[in-house]
Assembly symmetry: C2
Homo-oligomer: 630 residues x 2
């Protein structure tokens, strides 16, 4: 059982002495300098810190496996398990990144032959309805040629395949991690070690989450309306950047709230405290990071109304529409920008911040040294050098895991919209491993070693993300992407109907069929474009039909197909997931056999010992009472 | 670890001697007669068998809790756990049965006010298209008045509510069983006892299952076509009965196959053998029992085609259609008949069969006694009396669990179609408990006691059924029942549109709108009904429209609504399920505290003992080497 070190409550023992400033700090010192091979006198023949630096924390060896046994020995099982998990996750990202890259390249190479973007680029006589009420005018569809081409990059046939692939990948990843974990705990002799039960108060968090969702949705629509007036790349990008800054500043507030809430629960052990804090931090940050992405994926453009009958927020702001080539491109942009910015920011915070702090405290010390004329830094004892380093922060590995789990969420949840996400994650993680290693070996005090048999509550969170990912990907493909409308057109309306084959040519005329007609009234002489009718993205009857602006039959066909796709996709993927999870046993067969064998040998040994003991007793008693024993 | 008693392989020890007929049988004898209070001489003061008979196996005490501790003491933990589970399940069925009965009564009381059946009963001018090609003629819709009224009994607004209720009930049942189990294993001191891992070969079974599904679907359509020509209650019932007989005879074959397959796997322990056999038996019998029900629920009437363009099996048999008042009534009939017949059959087999066998062997013994003039039966030693009883069959409790789990499946999987299922299950189980008890106490030899901490693979199977049940109920309500088409009509086509309220009157005209028109050609003078147009159940354009027999807009509305319902229902119910499963901890809080406390006390005690031991050693050594000790 771990010692109770609850960082928010009263402490006892060394923590109490630390708390009332009897001691300034308490930590296990490093084994000498990471730069020199020689250990300090009090230690053994080998300086493990230097070894770790050489074999683990250097950039030059980024392609090598981590020395896990050495890490475990130097930092304890808990940190060892984190790096084992991180390395495993990074390795598993390689196939996902490769397939994602392949899907992206497929989009790139078929970009020019895409029928939809071809039609958009050639449509210089198609007049689109104005995008806003006051300062906007009607515009030509061909103006958005580049936008349409970029859309095809991410919204093509490969997307569906990739979404299914990633859902299965997430399952396989978790199932195989269970096996790897079983091997590690066996090798590190942790089988019998048990953690305490966990119980969580979810209600308080839930209230905050709901509040956040509502506020963000409202807010996102303001902000987007403001910056997207010209609906071009630059402005979309700016919007996402503002969004990112808001996310980052809210995170700081959330950390404090989670800290307070966890201490209110009075958890009884350190592992209980960590699990509770971790779940809160995850829920907060997950909602914070993803709610605007959710908004863009599923709400943007759904409730815009139609020309002549727009829906307005507070009767004032018109809800924004999607681009004629589909809604997926906005989602893709959001994903890409946030992911890149977040990773740069995180890596800076992780390394730059301790580097700066350490530089500052070294500078302070040097000044103090100049004043007191003490010996040079080289002759300082190890604990003095360590004291100048940063302590590992209070919530242990929570931050490290949190970053990786949020990244796992980003890579899987909207992966249909952005197949390059696994590649970005892979690149980040290759850096992340060495960065963390460098930080642990050179920039931090050596942390108190702690034991752990698994990655705690994170495993459950990862499994939850795996389930959410299947659902969101089904909805992204069915509702956000234009895959289904194109499919329905090709099979029911296009030029190939009743011919029984399907290729790009079958989409001829798709763009025209996906745009409805609106009657703007008699053209005034002063206006730029002299036409009475403009087009907009919807399936509605034309103004001259018997039921103007009602949904057409095609709308209902597409809707039924979208819903059917969600049902088929979810049942199929969850079925495969369940099947795979049952197929892969949680423990490798040979490990299972080995443990059985050892259990048997142990029982034999205990039996032998007991027998020997009994015989000795009998011998002694025999001597005492009978004397006829030789 | 349980002793290896693999009933299909070579045996050792007593089993070997039994196998080569050195001994005739080996069993623990009962504690005297169940009728008399006095134990036989060799036993203690109390005859537990008589006590069990008095307090457990009599019909008169059907309303009382079972004496679980006594059962466990007499028969061992494994059988004790089975009865604990059975009692728990029966108790949990009470609320389900009550709600189901209430839903049924709701249907009964609103039967007369149902707009749909009213319209059908009054529709004596509506001519329906013939149900078959050769000997059938057109018929009046009002002829099926009774059928429509019965349909309303099971297909009304309460159905959706009940399906959601049952999905949540199944989750709560399993979650609370986990807690109950934790308490029992603690009370029975089974906490540290471990079972072996299980590994299963699913592939062979899967192949059989697929084969069975295909064969049954084909077969069911034959058979149904044959017996349902007159589509009345009597013939439907006969069809279901034939179906039931086929199911029962196939079960016998399956048992042999499962037995063979399990032995081919060479399982290493008895519990492994049982789990493997249990899973196979369950999969076989589940598919056998439910495949025709699946066919009726989801395929019957879907692929019938339309008048003038019927789909035919092998170009010969027309696929059957649903009744104009909906497809749910066929499903309901199937459920009810199979459930009642199966329960009667099972109870007969369970009690009648051993009773007959025991009567037969007593008769044989009496004759042998008459020949040899031995003493009367009363003076026979207990082992001779026991020897005349039936041994508990080879696969232990598998049959008992199997019956209950299949019943659980029947009660939850299609519960939307037949809300009386939980009530039937409850009545059956009240009988089942006493019947099993009677059988165990009076008709069977006392079985070898065995330990078990849980109900083994059955728990996983029950959880699987819980998931399948949510999906099937979603589909039954959306596709089989007419709930969604009525809903769409009331909100989009009926007389209340734009009025914003909904009651039975809003369904006025629904029956007419759900029937399409077919042109039979000029009426011939010889035919009974002189009309040109007949009606059939579908949403297709009339023959005089511009696109005759194409699906109408209403068809697509209904389809979209059906699919949307499936998505909403599944996500909602699975969400609630997950939330509840997380909300209910697997172990009651006080039990958890008690176990922690005991662990702590145990550690303290061991520490004290160790300390005492060390002090003694020191004392002894001190005496030997120093002699200054007092």
């Amino acid at each position: 059982m771990a010692v109770v070190v609850n960082p928010g409550l009263d402490r006892s023992g060394i923590n109490r002495l630390l708390g009332n400033s009897t001691y300034e700090a308490a930590f296990p010192p490093h084994e000498g300098s990471y730069k020199s091979r020689h250990p300090i006198k009090t230690h053994g023949a080998q300086n493990h810190r230097h070894l770790l630096y050489e074999r683990w924390a250097r950039w030059g060896i980024w392609y090598k496996y981590q020395p896990l046994d050495l890490i475990r020995r130097y930092f304890g099982e808990k940190i060892g398990l984190y790096f084992a998990w991180l390395g495993w996750y990074t390795g598993m990202l390689i196939p996902a990144a490769l397939v994602g890259l392949f899907v992206f390249l497929y989009g790139l190479f078929t970009m020019d032959s895409s029928q939809v973007s071809k039609e958009i680029c050639e449509a210089n006589t198609t007049i689109m309805c104005p995008m806003c009420d006051v300062n906007c005018s009607a515009w030509k569809l061909s103006d958005s040629c580049v936008y349409a081409k970029v859309t095809h990059l991410f919204d093509n046939g490969g997307t569906v395949f990739f979404a299914i692939f990633m859902a299965i990948w997430a399952t396989v990843f978790l199932e195989f991690w269970k096996r790897r974990r079983a091997e590690l705990t066996y090798d590190w002799d942790l089988i019998d070690w048990e953690e305490e039960e966990i119980s969580l108060v979810l209600t308080a968090v839930f209230a905050v989450v709901v509040f956040r969702l509502i506020a963000m949705e409202k807010f996102a629509s303001f902000q987007w309306e403001f910056v997207k007036k010209n609906w071009q790349f630059a402005t979309s990008g700016t919007g996402v950047c503002i969004n990112f800054m808001i996310i980052m500043s809210l995170n700081v507030v959330y950390e404090k709230v989670a800290y307070l809430l966890t201490n209110l629960e009075h958890p009884r052990t350190e592992s209980e405290w960590e699990n509770s804090f971790a779940l809160k931090m995850f829920l907060f940050q997950f909602v914070n990071l993803n709610s605007s992405t959710f908004y863009i994926a599923f709400f943007l453009g759904r409730f815009a109304g139609r020309p002549g009958d727009y829906n307005k927020l507070f009767n004032r702001w018109r809800m924004e529409e999607c681009h004629p080539s589909g809604c997926l491109i906005d989602l893709c942009l959001q994903m890409g920008v946030i992911m890149v910015l977040k990773q740069i920011w995180n890596n800076f915070m992780e390394l730059g911040y301790p580097l700066l702090q350490n530089w500052w405290s070294r500078r302070k010390m040097r000044r103090a040294g100049e004043q007191n004329n003490v010996e040079s830094k080289e002759q300082l004892p190890q604990w003095d050098k360590d004291w100048n380093l940063q302590p590992m922060n209070a919530h242990g590995l929570v931050d490290e895991y949190l970053e990786m789990v949020l990244q796992f969420g980003f890579t899987t949840i909207f992966v249909a919209a952005f197949p390059l996400a696994p590649l970005l994650a892979l690149l980040n993680n290759i850096i992340e491993i060495r960065l963390d290693a460098y930080k642990f070996v050179t920039q931090w005090r050596r942390p108190m070693p702690a034991r752990a048999t698994d990655i705690g509550i994170w495993h459950g969170i990862l499994e939850g993300i795996g389930v959410v990912a299947v659902i969101t990907n089904a909805f992204v493909i069915a509702i956000t992407s234009d895959y289904i409308p194109r499919f329905v057109y090709a099979f029911k309306y296009g030029p190939c109907v009743n011919k029984g084959y399907r290729h790009e040519q079958c989409l001829r005329g798709y763009m025209n069929s996906s745009l409805s007609v609106f009657d703007m009234g008699e053209p005034q002489n002063g206006s730029q474009i002299e036409t009475r009718y403009c087009r907009y993205r919807d399936y509605r009857a034309p103004p001259w039909s018997s039921q103007p602006y009602e949904f057409t039959l095609q709308f209902w066909h597409v809707l039924a197909a979208r819903l059917a796709f969600i049902i088929v996709f979810e049942h199929l993927v969850f079925g495969i997931k369940t099947f795979i999870a049952h197929l892969i046993p949680d423990m490798p067969k040979d490990l299972c056999e080995r443990m059985r064998r050892e259990k048997y040998l142990m029982q034999e040994m205990m039996y032998e010992a007991e027998l020997e003991h009994l015989q000795k007793e009998r011998k002694k008693n025999g001597k005492r009472y009978h004397h006829e024993w030789p």
